[in-house]
């Protein structure tokens, strides 16, 4: 691993001269120029594939398509496609300059040819076209310099061969969008394997490439009905892998910090997930909207086993808006999903990350905005237990976000309808916070909320106020009883552990412990029937 940390700022002083190397160079907190340069060098990267091919042959220019007689155009088109299968090393910027330029011009010409001409996509060209595309874009992406690459924050490593690859993507798009394009012929080439390889490219750090990939994936999804289920399933798999393998792996990694390279080996890069989430959410939603009720099991499963668990992702902030939108779309389509969705969110409710908690509260409000009153009744108890915890959160942003629910007219009406259920859950926290919270804004907000709730049901409010103290005492007493119970149980365990040691084969005998604890047992027995 990297035992050496980044340079620490070092004060200039205390340097004694003892060697020929100049002192200023040593105490200078910056690494030497040569080292900085070495680190910066890899800002762009090529695929790790072309090097395994034999060295490129020099290309010679072919005549222009538009100058060729129409009888020969088809043949020339094919030749040009074949010519474009030659791959070049772009990390070496001076190598094969002439051939690179010929290929670039040819690709441009091809893009132009398929977008402006009609009748050029005859059946025999399909294999040549897809072969050229596959050869160019499907490549093994090299290891990432930064395993925690964040597409929003980090400087991306750009694809070195972009001058060619961009045109190939462009060509693929024009090909798919050509009015003569026939999915029934193309499906022999644009098949499941093609889609899989396409999805793997989403790991590219180059945002320009991911943009193309998104559009292309949408086109393929739109044109190839036979591939739709497959695409959905593969996207599912990517998400599931991210949730249940990569995130899990990351969590372990951060604890034990094994060899850095392993991260590259096992991890699926986070940017794939973000990008797919952002681009696919909308397509998934449009699919959902397109389907008749009841929703297919597959889609419900996507909601419950993919979208909801995705809320646990470390980088949730990067795609939460899309995720929440998607969830709400589902609920608008099928309100009966409300209860499981909210229960799911409650299960994954953030425990230590306030920023995420605020996001969850935002999503809950969006859900409550569209909730049906009957659904609200089903979920109000667990939901308001969580909200009451949030209101009492010492982090003022969390408390504030939760208290803002009381500014929402529709939520207020739901609360009013169910005040006898909601108020008892909320009262304790609100009452305590009104006295204890450190932040004056929160205290002011809590007073307003208490006032609103009081106006909804004055009698209940008074009852709760007067019983508040007694209630707290009862809680305390219960806690004491619990402590006592566990203390007794622990004694029991200790004494049997001693017995087990003496008698390693037989089972722990409890007989003498029972005698010793007879009285306690009797007491407990008396308490129990009431409960």
């Amino acid at each position: 691993g990297h035992s050496l940390t980044p340079p620490v700022p070092i004060s200039i002083a205390l340097c004694i001269k003892m060697s020929a190397i100049s002192a200023s160079e040593k105490v200078d907190g910056f690494t030497r120029k040569s080292m900085r340069k070495a680190q910066k060098q890899r800002k762009s990267q090529g695929s790790s594939q072309y090097r395994t091919q034999s060295a490129p042959v020099e290309l010679s220019p072919l005549p222009q398509l538009k100058d060729a007689p129409s009888t020969e155009q088809q043949e020339l088109f094919t030749q040009k496609l074949q010519q474009c299968c030659m791959l070049f090393d772009f990390l070496d910027s001076v190598m094969d300059l002439k051939s690179k330029e010929i290929k670039r011009a040819t690709l441009n010409e091809l893009v132009d040819y398929v977008s402006t001409n009609r009748g050029v996509l005859v059946e025999s060209t399909y294999p040549e076209i897809t072969n050229m595309i596959c050869t160019n874009i499907f490549r093994t992406l090299p290891p990432s310099d930064n395993p925690d690459f964040d597409p929003e924050e980090d400087e991306p490593t750009l694809e070195a061969s972009w001058p060619h690859i961009q045109l190939v993507y462009e060509f693929l798009l024009r090909f798919l969008e050509n009015p003569d394009f026939q999915p029934s012929i193309a499906k022999r080439h644009i098949d499941q394997k093609f889609v899989l390889q396409l999805l793997e490219l989403f790991d590219s750090e180059d945002p320009r490439e991911r943009d193309f990939l998104k559009t292309i994936l949408h086109r393929i999804y739109g044109k190839f009905l036979g591939l739709r289920a497959f695409i959905r399933k593969q996207i599912n798999n990517i998400f599931l892998r991210f949730i249940y393998e990569t995130e899990h792996f990351n969590a372990i990694m951060s604890i034990i910090n094994i060899h850095d390279y392993l991260v590259h080996v096992v991890c699926l890069s986070f940017c794939t997930v973000i990008c797919l989430m952002r681009s696919c959410c909308f397509s998934v939603c449009s699919i959902i909207n397109g389907f008749a009720l009841p929703l297919k099991a597959e889609h419900k499963q996507f909601l419950m086993k993919v979208l909801i668990p995705l809320h646990t992702a470390k980088g949730l902030a990067l795609f939460h808006a899309q995720l929440a939108y998607c969830v709400v779309q589902f609920l608008e389509k099928d309100p009966t999903l409300t209860e499981p969705v909210i229960r799911g969110l409650l299960k994954f409710w953030p425990k230590t990350c306030s920023q995420k908690e605020v996001m969850f509260l935002g999503e809950i409000e969006e859900i409550l905005d569209v909730i049906e009153p009957t659904q609200f009744k089903k979920i109000q108890e667990p939901l308001f237990k969580q909200i009451s915890k949030c209101v009492a959160n010492p982090h003022f942003q969390v408390a504030e976000r939760a208290l803002y629910f009381w500014n929402n007219e529709y939520i207020l009406s739901l609360i009013e309808e169910n005040i006898d259920k909601v108020l008892p859950i909320m009262f304790g926290s609100l009452y305590r916070i009104s006295k204890e919270h450190w932040n004056p804004t929160i205290v002011a907000l809590v007073y307003n909320v208490l006032k609103t709730l009081m106006e909804m049901n004055c009698t209940l409010f008074d009852e709760l106020t007067s019983s508040y103290k007694a209630e707290r005492q009862r809680e305390k007493k219960k806690e004491q009883e619990r402590d006592e119970l566990w203390k007794k149980l622990d004694e029991l365990r200790l004494s049997s552990a001693a017995l087990v040691q003496n008698n390693s084969h037989g089972l722990p005998s409890l007989s003498h412990v029972r005698d010793g604890d007879g009285r306690f047992m009797a007491k407990k027995k008396k308490i129990n029937p009431k409960e």
């Binding site: 070092i10 395994t52 393998e245 619990r482 149980l489 365990r493 722990p508």
Partner: protein, 589 residues
């Protein structure tokens, strides 16, 4: 057993279950963690008839609670009445093995594996194996993933018909349509192969291995490489060529660098598993390719294995293979563009000298060591220096000393304090190997310079280093070379340097002995008790406490005691505190 058949209402289960149902997750978690206590209180029979059904039916909970539950149940055999009843634990563990959360599932599988050993062969077939089958044919991928880890534990102890079924299930999972399941199956392939009869390894496992090794997903293929080691170990030599090698060759040239990385990473194991003949014919060229791979990650992983690979080559023509095939690649790696690659190589390259012997080392390896000692990356240089002992045995360190010195000096002054710290830690070792003369001449100044480094960690390490040097070279050496310099710092205008004198004295007094301590160090310490900086004064008190045991009682009474008494009346409360502490520890009151 007495607990179960006596008074069986020892504790009302409702009270305990209330604890397991508590609204507060933390309390629920605490209760689950003490589940064994609850079971103990209930007795074995009620644990079986009441607690376990409750756990199976009603617990759907936060993953944290489920994790604790899964772990607890693995140790529950005695609490349900011993091996005879252990199958009662299967239903709750089965449902835990199907949950989504990976941590919980893994723990449930771990517990299931554990209790499988406690099943009798009959119970294994009646209860355990059906569970594995249910998991293996579950709808959702999580249960199928879990099943993969359970085949190998039940296979050896069931009848041959059941064995055939298990093999069939494993086969199915290896071609599952979710990559998650295929990955789980691939990662258990080696383990499963180990418990299979050799004939089935050849007929079943090999075809699965070949299929997984050419899976469409590289994450599956790379796991097959791991299995390759186990499988190759199981097969007789004459079958390896036809059954394993085609797949291994293909993996070493896989288009995904992740797979090639895995091959490089497992190279030593693979080498041992396939034996000397195949190593000579196949692995040597494959290793050369990995050392020349286009991805730095792969090269670094291979570079790490250079020494082990060479060591394990068949002895009859080891030297020839290294000299003609491996060394040329190693030479290129010395000037690799990636620092991780060079650093990985530097950590093992010195080990080659023992394998190649004196002459080859001097002629071929020495230039490489020297080149790496001059590398621009400090980690490379450090890795060379930290392995000097390997070369020392073969050619003696003198051969290197000319180049060693500038390298050490440069590291000693590196801008990163962690680099400086690392080199200090090798000083005692270097001193031992270079000898006292060379040390005095070249390195002593460095060691003293670290004492006034501006990073405390370095000054501290430098102090400790001096102590180790004195232990090595003796008190007389100390008296002549380092003690005067250390004591000279007592007059430094910087109080941090004055304190360093005290820290050095603390470290050195014991190694230097009573004479030097009393005659040379003590006067300096006592004089410093008048320092105007309180930190220095209380460190004087601490030093006196530390060196007290080395002094004779006369010096303690006549010289140390008055000074400590004076410090005990100091205006600064810390000085007072440490002076009083010293007085009481040295029993001077």
């Amino acid at each position: 057993m007495a607990g179960a058949d006596g008074d069986d209402s020892l504790y009302p289960i409702a009270v305990l279950i209330d604890e397991l149902r508590n609204e507060d997750v933390q309390l629920r978690l605490n209760s689950i963690k003490k589940l064994s206590t609850i079971a103990l209180a209930l007795g074995v029979e009620r644990t079986r008839t009441e607690l376990l059904p409750f756990l199976t039916d009603t617990i759907y909970d936060e993953d944290e609670v489920l994790l604790a539950l899964a772990e607890q149940l693995g140790n529950f055999t005695m609490l349900v009445g011993g091996p005879e009843y252990v199958h009662c634990l299967l239903p709750p563990l089965e449902s835990l093995a199907t949950v989504e959360e990976t941590v919980v599932r893994d723990k449930a599988v771990e517990s299931l594996r554990k209790i499988s050993q406690e099943h009798s062969p009959v119970d294994l077939e009646v209860h355990f194996e059906p569970l594995v089958k249910r998991l293996a044919s579950g709808d959702w991928f999580t249960s199928r993933t879990s099943a993969c880890g359970l085949f190998s534990v039940c296979y050896p102890r069931v009848s041959s018909t059941v064995k055939a079924e298990i093999r069939q299930h494993f086969r199915t999972l290896c071609s599952d349509d979710t990559p998650m399941v295929r990955r789980a199956a691939a990662s258990k392939l080696g383990e499963f192969a180990k418990v299979l009869e050799l004939d089935y390894v050849k007929s079943d496992i090999i075809s699965l291995f070949t299929a997984l090794a050419s899976d469409e997903q590289d994450s599956v293929r790379l796991l097959a490489v791991e299995a390759c080691v186990s499988i190759a170990t199981l097969l007789p030599q004459e079958d390896l060529e036809s059954l394993v090698m085609p797949t291994l060759r293909q993996a070493a040239e896989d288009k995904s660098w992740r797979v090639r990385y895995m091959v490089a990473d497992k190279f030593s194991e693979l080498q041992k598993a396939v034996g000397p003949e195949i190593t000579k014919n196949d692995l040597v060229p494959a290793f050369q390719n990995l050392l020349k791979d286009c991805e730095a990650e792969v090269r670094a992983a291979a570079a790490n294995k250079v020494k082990e690979f060479c060591e394990n080559l068949p002895e009859d023509n080891r030297e020839q293979i290294i000299m003609t095939h491996i060394l040329p690649c190693v030479k290129e790696l010395v000037s690799d563009t990636n620092q991780h690659v060079k650093s990985a190589l530097a950590s093992v390259i010195m080990g080659l000298s023992t394998i190649l012997g004196k002459d080859n080392t001097i002629e071929h390896l020495l230039p490489l060591f020297l080149a790496q000692l001059k590398d621009e990356c400090p980690e490379v240089r450090l890795n060379i220096i930290s392995n000097l002992d390997c070369v020392n045995e073969v050619i003696g360190i003198r051969q290197l000393s000319q180049s060693l010195l500038p390298a050490i000096v440069e590291l000693a002054e590196d801008a990163k304090w962690r680099v400086r710290l690392a080199i200090i830690e090798y000083m005692p070792l270097l001193a031992g190997q270079l000898g006292v003369e060379f040390f005095d001449e070249k390195l002593n100044t460095l060691c003293m310079a670290w004492l006034i480094d501006h990073v405390y960690a370095i000054r501290e390490a430098a102090t400790c280093n001096l102590m180790k040097l004195v232990e090595k070279f003796g008190a007389e050496w100390a008296q002549n070379t380092i003690v005067p310099k250390v004591l000279g710092m007592a007059n430094d205008p910087n109080y941090l340097h004055r304190m360093t004198t005290l820290f050095c004295i603390n470290a050195l007094s014991e190694a230097c002995g009573q004479d030097i301590t009393t005659k040379q160090m003590l006067p300096v310490v006592l004089k410093m008790s008048n320092d105007q900086v309180a930190n220095v004064r209380f460190n004087v008190a601490k030093s006196l406490q530390k060196i007290g045991p080395v002094l004779d009682s006369n010096a303690l009474q006549t010289e140390v005691k008055p000074v400590l008494e004076k410090l005990a009346t100091d205006t600064d409360m810390d000085v007072k505190y440490f002076a009083q502490e010293a007085i009481s520890v040295l029993v001077l009151a």
